[in-house]
């Protein structure tokens, strides 16, 4: 295995032992990107020059034995809907194709404070709206395990880059599963933190009551490390939580003896791929063997989650995306008569179909005469979905279920049927609606050799427990060590 195949915690040890240097691994990384990126297409923008400069600076810090940040010299990729000062941030949309933010997102500032190296900006579904990264306004990212398959979405570029060893770790974002689902489809680890755990400052807004920045890493220990860097209070986000941040690595190897694991019967019903079902059931046997108690539970409103989500998320999106009007930044049409015509042509020319559909759906749900029937109704059912989890967590310590109903699907297979695409998020959306944290980790492979992921969900702010439960499984298995043949 090349040095690029190591995890972040392994490479950190090599830096300290003098067996590797940030500048060496960074230049090797860009060589690998040059040879593989034409096949995978995980990045929109690469920041090679700046990365090599930063790596040389961290080399010196290590040589001089200066105090090092938690991610000193580690190349990290960032989803292109997270603002990076002086680096293009497009949201994979033509409307922002020339947008260079004058500020860093909170999470980017934190990465820099901890001496991380920014590799570049990863591809996504335009404005994070999609489950396959096919909705990007620029390119289609391919799954490193099978180039004819999607990497999942919307953080498909972030997941594919980590799976293909084109970055040691990456940041993604979730509104309805956009970190966990691509992590599952690409065979890597993804965390959606509790709503409010990570600042949204500088994350381009989609559905503000759902959006969270998340982590994509090669294993669970790396997830703990990246969470440590990005979690915490930020006065610039009005919904940022002041709940103290624990040391996420503490107790990670405490195991699962006596843990009560809830299995929601609704998640193993119709529509679940047989290979996925078999892998998750096998994983549950592993947990049982490790001393956990498996209990069947019910989350009765699960089947309504997708409908609630597509009202709530799109209503919020229709308001958030009203700012793209061709005035202060981004694209403006070259041909218009008057201001309203300028808005309408600008948005028509620069938004892709999925974004248009969602804005229109959101505006419909909020429009006069329909508000009560759609938005208000959905907000009430959202309360019932959260109550389902509250009730479940009185009996169990965590919930385990598949992350995605199927392994990576073929490029183009679902692209023309938006509703069918929406239904591929059925297992991830409930956690976003309830605001609870979730982790997806590799738990098997399909007959065709595609990765399968399972997710673990817990109560608000229990990320540390999720890491402990996930690590107990990971150290018993080797799914996370398998690499795609590229």
């Amino acid at each position: 295995m090349s040095i690029l195949g190591f995890t972040t915690h392994q490479i950190k040890e090599k830096f300290l032992a003098g067996e590797a240097k940030p500048s060496e691994i960074t230049s090797q990384l860009f060589q690998r990107i040059k040879s593989l990126e034409p096949k995978i297409q995980s990045f929109i923008t690469l920041s090679e020059e700046e990365a090599l400069k930063d790596a040389a600076r961290i080399d010196k810090k290590i040589e001089r034995r200066e105090k090092l940040g938690l991610l000193a010299g580690i190349p990290v990729a960032i989803k292109d809907n997270i603002c990076t000062k002086n680096i293009l941030t497009t949201c994979a949309s033509k409307i922002l194709k020339n947008f260079v933010p004058p500020y860093d997102a909170f999470v980017v500032k934190r990465l820099k404070e901890e001496d991380a190296i920014i590799v570049g900006k990863t591809n996504l579904d335009e404005f994070a709206m999609g489950s396959s990264t096919e909705n990007s306004g620029f390119k289609v990212t391919r799954n490193p395990w099978n180039l004819d398959r999607v990497p999942g979405g919307s953080s498909g570029g972030s997941a594919a880059a980590v799976a293909a060893d084109l970055s040691y770790m990456s940041l993604g974002s979730e509104t309805g599963g956009s970190v966990r689902q691509p992590a599952a489809l690409c065979g890597v680890v993804g965390i959606k933190p509790t709503y409010g755990r990570v600042s949204r400052y500088g994350l381009v807004a989609f559905g503000s009551s759902l959006d969270q920045v998340g982590t994509v890493t090669k294993d669970v220990k790396d997830a703990a490390l990246l969470m440590q860097v990005i979690a915490g209070y930020d006065a610039q986000d009005s919904t940022s939580s002041q709940t103290p941040v624990p040391n996420y690595a503490d107790g990670i190897d405490n195991g699962v003896k006596g843990l009560r694991v809830g299995i929601p019967k609704e998640y193993f019903a119709g529509g679940l791929n047989a290979d996925v079902a078999a892998s998750v059931k096998e994983a549950l046997k592993t947990y049982e063997r490790l001393g956990a108690k498996i209990l069947e539970i019910s989350l009765p409103h699960t089947e309504y989650a997708v409908a609630v989500y597509y009202i709530v998320a799109n209503a919020e999106a229709s308001s958030n995306l009203a700012r793209y009007d061709g005035v202060r930044y981004g694209y403006r049409t070259s041909d218009s008569s008057g201001i309203v015509d300028m808005y309408s042509r600008t948005r028509a020319e620069a938004f892709g179909s999925e974004v248009k559909r969602r804005i229109m759906l959101g505006n419909y749900a909020l429009s006069s005469g329909y508000y009560d029937a759609y938005y208000l109704k959905a907000s009430k059912v959202r309360t019932l979905i959260k109550t389902d989890f509250d009730t479940a967590f009185e009996k169990v310590d965590c919930v385990i279920c598949p992350t995605s109903p199927m392994p990576a699907f073929k490029i183009g297979e679902r692209a023309n049927n938006p509703l069918e695409m929406y239904l591929s998020d059925i297992y991830t959306i409930p956690a976003n609606l309830a605001g609870i944290p979730g982790i997806s980790l590799p738990c098997g492979f399909s007959k065709e050799g595609l990765p399968i992921g399972m997710q673990i969900l817990a109560r608000h702010f229990e990320e540390q427990k999720l890491l402990q439960i996930a690590f107990a499984f990971e150290r018993e298995t080797d799914f996370h060590l398998k690499k795609p043949a590229l």
């Binding site: 020339n98 260079v100 004058p102 709503y195 009551s209 006065a235 009005s238 919904t239 939580s241 409103h301 309504y304 409908a307 609630v308 009202i311 229709s318 009203a322 009007d325 061709g326 005035v327 202060r328 930044y329 981004g330 694209y331 403006r332 218009s336 008057g338 201001i339 309203v340 015509d341 300028m342 808005y343 309408s344 948005r347 028509a348 248009k356 559909r357 804005i359 229109m360 759906l361 505006n363 419909y364 429009s367 029937a373 759609y374 109704k377 959905a378 907000s379 009430k380 059912v381 959202r382 309360t383 019932l384 959260k386 938006p418 509703l419 929406y422 609606l433 309830a434 605001g435 608000h460």
Partner: protein, 95 residues
Amino acid sequence: MSFTYKDVEYIASLSRIKISGDEKEVFVHQLGDILSYIEKLNTINTDGVQPMSHTVEVSNVFREDTLKPSISRADAQQTAPSIMGAFFKVPKVIE
């Protein structure tokens, strides 16, 4: 409830998105399908249920109104499509 061409035109105009005839044809079916899927919410009784706006308890957060540095005007105007001095320039607003 059926979703009509008129509905598509109306919400496209509310959304400030100019749509072509072809798009109208596609959207009327796709949005109609999605909305009829969403109709399933009406099968649940939500009498007495509070609508959710926040998943985690939040309350108003206050701070002192003190002067702090912010992004410079030049930086804020840097990627604007059209500016004039300190202003963003737009097409004619009042006919």
